[in-house]
């Protein structure tokens, strides 16, 4: 018994010790890795070689060279992330039929010839042979990997089939149009006015557009055109295609390319941008003369002039079809970019921007074969190309990636759908004027429609530079003011516990300062006036209708605006005020130094102002700016300086400000720079000449590395549905047929709850779209397409094709599957 008691006591003591130990062990906070080291590697092949040699863990740049991709795929030591942000097209010069400048004939003046180019070009050849599989065929101004394509995938698919490769059809249409225009085909060559019809083709040489250009030039030569292939770099070509008047005839076709580093959830404006004179105020755009119906549709989509999503769908259906008939641009392919990494590295990559464009990479990057910790070695083609400051510093993707890894915003976009997700926001109520097209997808936003939205008299509408106080709606508009939308933002309760990297707690002054600076810097009476910000400010002022702090702790604010977005989540985030500026994070106490330096004309936030005054462009991390900023830090401490004290003095006392400056001084003495943010890592070391940047885990970060970060973990890999169609190979006309649709992700059934919709299309033996309908859900991973006897009665005998489109809620890339079957009488 005694022994038993002793044993029990021992066990109890051991248990107590282990529990105590567990309690005293603090959960890891901040980044998953201890250290992130950035270096510069310009050559992509070399970077892959270094990854293979375990000298790097990640190369944060998109690779599109098939040979390098092959190496990555073949190496068991490597993995990769995929993104779809850039795309190529043919830009046509529509002036004509002859160029006033040269008198030369321009076949691409005729929309039918441009339209026929869609049949002439084999996009699959471009994607598979030229791009080595690193591409997706593209027919439209909307991106195949973005939400609008997913929404209208069935419409798009039908048009893609209609405009599939058909060289004979292209030749027939072009011959007909050329003949009608007065051109003559002699010995296989087109002549106009006795001269060969010569196409001046500006072919870009920096990437695969060179091969695309050669391929298309050969196709044009095959059908009788004489092609003057002019190989040019971006710079050389820009002097002609975008600088010159297209009437001079310096080009007929240009191999254009565009890039986007974020998922654009509303591409409705793309038709207006790419096909109408409203797109850009440049000579080429001025030459566009779209069909009036297309013009009207494009403008309505650009202005969000619709009330329901059904109406928008109808407009999109028209725009997609009419854009193919216009074809002043012929879209070729969406480039697939590969971000290579070691196989044991996991990171949340963005479908548009890859890893360097991801907002969550800093939260998610980790080694999968070890517990939290370790050093992550990342290389990029360039490091620190320009100065860092939040109001007018660098916006290079390389710098922004590093900054984002050390920062967080109140909401962050999903890397797979572009929808904003809350980070330091509990919820938002969005009130929109009835009739405006705003729709919600996620639960953190509550969307309501109201007949009228009045702006309260106490809301801040303008800024008095001299008094350094906001002007209220009541003062400026005594008769009252209304807005199209109101956003009530409920910030997270832990908001004020968040710390800047120098240990200073976030304050309301940090949150209000961005609004002050928006007004102040655009006002000529301000000491930090900068004419560069005026155009942006004018845009802002047109739609801004007021801001109000409803409650300080927990913080609740109201934002009024006339500018609405398709997604309520985007509108909600537009209403969030936060200390994250266009060029990075900025605390009040760090920005105060810059404000003083610019007011005294020793440094400037923007490059333009620096050039104008002949002063240094402000840099918070290195160079001649640092001693100047340090001088103003000392001055701020001595003067107990609060910027815009008449307003911010309400949120921070002079002593609190001094404490913040002291913390920043200690930070500067320890780290040698003034960059402080709030994210999971902080900037430990900057070596600008050596091109090395070192980040360290921020142990003072408010969230645990694991646990609470689960919400970002789901973004490990995009859940692009794999679709497989099975069913009868032969269907009797007038009979019924069921086709099973297996939808999986990594061989696991795709949850029905995550499928937005699925549709089928049947292309009959004549090549026409005969049937369209929904695929019905059966269970997770399984859908069914049931063709009734009435459906099959519409088909003609011969081979048919069943195409199925599955659109997911969690990723904006739809899954496609198809099956051939024969119909018999």
């Amino acid at each position: 018994m005694k022994k038993l008691l002793i044993a029990v006591s021992l066990v109890a003591v051991l248990l107590a010790l282990s529990v105590g130990s567990a309690l005293t062990q603090q959960a890891r906070t901040g980044a998953w890795v201890d250290e992130i080291v950035f270096t510069e590697v310009v050559d992509r092949a070399q970077a892959v070689d270094m990854l293979n040699a375990n000298q790097l863990d990640l190369y944060a740049f998109g690779i599109s060279e098939p040979e390098i991709f092959k190496k990555i795929k073949e190496s068991p030591a490597l993995g990769y992330e995929t993104s779809y942000g850039s795309y190529n097209e043919l830009t046509f010069n529509p002036v004509g039929p002859t160029f006033p400048g040269t008198g030369a004939f321009n076949p691409f003046h005729f929309p039918r010839i441009r339209e026929a180019m869609n049949w002439l070009i084999d996009r699959n050849y471009i994607v598979n042979e030229i791009m080595g599989g690193l591409g997706v065929p593209r027919w439209f101004a909307i991106t195949p990997a973005f939400p609008d394509y997913a929404r209208y995938a069935d419409i798009a698919r039908a048009l893609e089939l209609q405009y599939g490769y058909d060289k004979e059809k292209a030749k027939a249409v072009i011959t007909e149009e050329m003949t009608n225009a007065g051109a003559v085909l002699q010995d296989g060559k087109w002549y106009y006015g006795g001269q060969p019809v010569t196409i001046i083709f500006l072919i870009r040489v920096e990437d695969e557009r060179r091969q695309m250009g050669d391929y298309i030039a050969t196709l044009l030569e095959d059908i009788g055109f004489t092609v003057d292939r002019q190989y040019k770099t971006a710079r050389e070509a820009s002097a002609c295609w975008i600088r010159s008047d297209p009437a001079t005839g310096c080009f007929h076709i240009y191999t254009g390319g565009w890039v986007t580093t974020l998922i654009d959830r509303d591409q409705g404006g793309n038709f207006d941008f790419f096909y109408t004179p409203r797109g850009l105020p440049y000579p080429l755009w001025a030459a566009y003369t779209p069909d009036p119906e297309f013009d009207a549709v494009a403008e309505r989509l650009a202005r969000n002039d619709y009330k329901t999503m059904d109406e928008r769908r109808e407009l999109f259906a028209q725009a997609l079809e009419l854009s193919m008939k216009d074809s002043v641009r012929v879209w070729l392919a969406n480039r697939v970019s590969i971000t290579p990494r070691r196989a044991n590295v996991a990171v949340g990559a963005d479908l548009a921007g890859g890893v360097y464009g991801s907002w969550i990479w800093g939260f998610t990057i980790r080694f999968t074969d070890q517990p939290a910790g370790g050093t992550m070695r990342i290389a990029m083609p360039s490091i620190l190309p320009e100065p860092w400051n939040p109001l007018g510093g660098t916006n290079w993707v390389y710098d922004m990636m590093i900054m984002r890894g050390m920062s967080e915003t109140m909401c962050q976009p999903s890397p797979f759908t572009g929808l904003f997700l809350p980070q330091r926001v509990e919820k938002a109520e969005v009130y929109v004027k009835e009739g405006l097209p705003v729709f919600k997808s996620l639960d953190w936003v509550d969307l309501k429609f109201e007949p009228e939205i009045k702006v309260p008299a106490g809301a801040w509408i303008d800024w008095d530079v001299k008094a350094q106080k906001f002007i209220t709606v009541g003062q400026k508009y005594p008769e009252g003011l209304t807005a199209n939308a109101k956003v009530v933002v409920h910030y997270a309760p832990e908001l004020y516990q968040m710390k800047w990297h120098d240990g200073v707690n976030l304050s309301l002054a940090d949150i209000v300062l961005p609004l002050i600076l928006t007004f102040d810097r655009a006002n000529p009476d301000s000491a930090i006036y900068d004419e560069v910000v005026v155009p942006d400010f004018e845009q802002f002022q047109q739609y801004y209708k007021g801001f109000r702090i409803v409650q300080k702790d927990p913080l609740i604010t109201e934002y009024y605006t006339d500018l609405t977005y398709l997604d309520a989540e985007t509108l909600a985030y537009a209403g969030v005020l936060e200390p994250y500026y266009s060029y990075g994070p900025g605390s009040m106490h760090a920005l105060a130094l810059g404000i003083l330096a610019e007011a005294n004309q020793e440094l400037t936030f923007t490059s333009d102002k620096a050039d104008k005054l002949g002063k240094e462009w402000m840099n918070y991390i290195a160079g001649p700016s640092l001693p100047i900023l340090e001088k103003y830090l000392d001055q701020a401490i001595a003067d107990k300086y609060i910027p815009y004290a008449n307003t911010l003095g309400e949120f921070i006392t002079p002593d609190q400000a001094v404490a913040q400056y002291q913390a920043l001084k200690a930070w500067y003495q320890a780290k040698g720079h003034f960059f402080v943010s709030q994210g999971p890592s902080y900037l430990e070391e900057v070596r600008p000449v050596e091109k090395i940047v070192v980040l360290k885990q921020n142990t003072a970060f408010i969230d645990p590395s694991e646990g609470n970060r689960i919400k970002w973990l789901e973004f490990g890999k995009p859940k692009i549905a794999a679709v497989e169609v099975t069913g009868p190979g032969e269907v009797k006309i007038g009979g019924v047929a069921d086709f099973l649709i297996n939808v999986t992700f990594e061989d696991q059934p795709y949850p029905l709850a995550e499928i937005d919709f699925a549709k089928y299309l049947v292309i009959d033996a004549t090549g026409k779209l005969a049937l369209v309908g929904p695929a019905e859900p059966v269970r997770d991973g399984l859908l069914v397409v049931s063709l009734s006897s009435a459906d099959t009665a519409k088909l003609v005998p011969g081979p048919n094709r069943l195409e199925v489109v599955v659109v997911s809620k969690v990723v904006s890339i739809p899954g496609f599957g198809s099956l051939g079957f024969v119909t018999t009488p």
């Binding site: 080291v37 270096t39 510069e40 590697v41 070399q46 070689d49 040699a53 000298q55 971006a234 710079r235 820009s238 002097a239 975008i242 600088r243 565009w258 580093t261 654009d264 509303d266 404006g269 941008f273 409203r278 850009l280 105020p281 403008e299 650009a302 202005r303 969000n304 070695r377 620190l384 320009e386 100065p387 860092w388 004419e531 560069v532 005026v534 155009p535 942006d536 004018e538 845009q539 047109q542 500018l563 977005y565 490059s607 333009d608 050039d611 104008k612 002949g614 240094e616 462009w617 840099n619 991390i621 290195a622 160079g623 001649p624 070596r687 000449v689 050596e690 091109k691 090395i692 070192v694």
Partner: protein, 382 residues
């Protein structure tokens, strides 16, 4: 005393004559230096202005820059969600304002010919001015700082490589010149054509061997990442990163340089006075020093001086493949972005250094070479 009284006027006369000759010589020297100085300065001015014209393609680059600005602003409109849904008139106004601001910032609103003289005066006065696109690594737009930041890395790489190359090749060539026809001599002759390949070619091969396959030396950069904390560690790391680029530079030139010097020394080795020295039984070291090296000194010094200033330009492609943060890579970036002030500054500094070096060499020649005279044929040599 009488002797002294008769001697003094003579000495005075001699002294006066000597002074007069010295003054005359000084006058000739000043005149010569001034004439040469002006001629060299004019050559530098012409060279720099030609650089400005070429770098701007006679003003055509303005069209390219405006095209680029429009393209960038256009792309930014497409990527800016804040502009979505806004009326076309607003977007048009916004774009025009943005384009105009950038055109103004770059001075493209003024004719190129006016700006070309502004570039020229800024360059010649060495004010160097501000870059148009590039910033220094630490973020400054001052061309002076941009160049100064890159200078140490270039001097380190090219200084080390060129100094080694110079002294090693001269000494080895001197050695070979005394062993004409030996196996070593024939080996060097056989290897001389290997210098047809530039340093970057050897760089790629060396990277493949030592970094990619053997993995014992780094691919590029100037120091390990993260950089070692101690000075010694940092220095050792820099030397480790220097190994491949220095080796590439040396490999690309060593054999042809030895061959050239060896041939040069051979010509002097067969002079009569060298044969006489040999006949006298002087040791070979003394012959090399007194009878071969001394008369070839002006050429050696010229070569050395030109090598020193050539370091200033760095090596565009070599520095690029080794990701070496030097002036060569900077010039590559400046040319790529049409950054005229940086291009012109690099060229003007090189032009000045070259002009000064040539002028100094002219003077040094006159001092060390008995055969060089400055004007006044038949009179005193300088």
């Amino acid at each position: 005393m009488a002797e002294s009284t008769t001697a003094l006027p003579g000495k005075q006369r001699l002294s006066v004559a000597k002074r007069s000759v010295a003054l005359e010589t000084l006058g000739r020297l000043v005149k010569y230096v001034s004439t040469r100085g002006i001629a060299l300065f004019l050559a530098a001015v012409i060279g720099v202005y030609l650089t400005i014209l070429i770098a701007n393609m006679g003003g055509y680059v303005d069209q390219i820059k405006i095209g680029e600005i429009r393209e960038q602003v256009g792309a930014s409109v497409l990527a800016n969600p804040a502009l979505q849904g806004r009326p076309a008139s607003e977007i048009k106004k916004y774009v025009e304002e943005q384009v105009e601001l950038e055109i103004k910032r770059l001075g493209l609103d003024k004719p190129f010919i006016l700006r070309s003289f502004k570039y020229l005066t800024a360059a010649l006065s060495l004010s160097l001015g501000r870059s148009e696109h590039l910033t220094s690594d630490s973020g400054s737009r001052q061309v002076r700082l941009i160049l100064l930041e890159r200078l140490p890395a270039t001097l380190l790489l090219w200084g080390l490589a060129d100094l080694f190359l110079f002294f090693a090749s001269v000494l080895f060539a001197l050695y070979l010149s005394r062993r004409y026809g030996s196996f070593l001599d024939r080996t060097v002759i056989a290897l001389a054509p290997t210098s047809a390949a530039p340093p970057w070619f050897y760089g790629i091969i060396l990277i493949l061997i030592f970094a990619s396959v053997l993995r014992i030396l780094p691919y590029g950069g100037i120091v390990d990442a993260p950089p070692p904390r101690t000075t010694l560690g940092y220095t050792l790391s820099v030397f480790k990163h220097l190994a491949l680029p220095v080796l590439a530079v040396i490999l690309a030139s060593i054999f042809i340089t030895i061959y050239n010097w060896r041939t040069f020394f051979l010509i002097f080795s067969s002079e009569d006075y060298v044969e006489m020295a040999k006949a006298k039984g002087l040791p070979s070291g003394a012959i090399e020093r007194r009878y071969i090296l001394r008369p070839t000194l002006p050429t050696i010094i010229t070569s050395f001086a030109l090598m020193l200033i050539a370091m200033w330009m760095g090596g565009i492609i070599t520095e690029t493949i080794f990701v070496w943060p030097g002036l060569g890579r900077l010039l590559y970036e400046a040319i790529g972005s049409f950054d005229t002030p940086v291009i012109v500054a690099s060229v003007v500094l090189y032009a000045y250094l070259l002009a000064i070096t040539v002028l100094l060499l002219d003077i040094i020649y006159a001092i060390i070479d008995p055969r060089v005279r400055v004007g006044g044929e038949g009179k005193l040599r300088l």
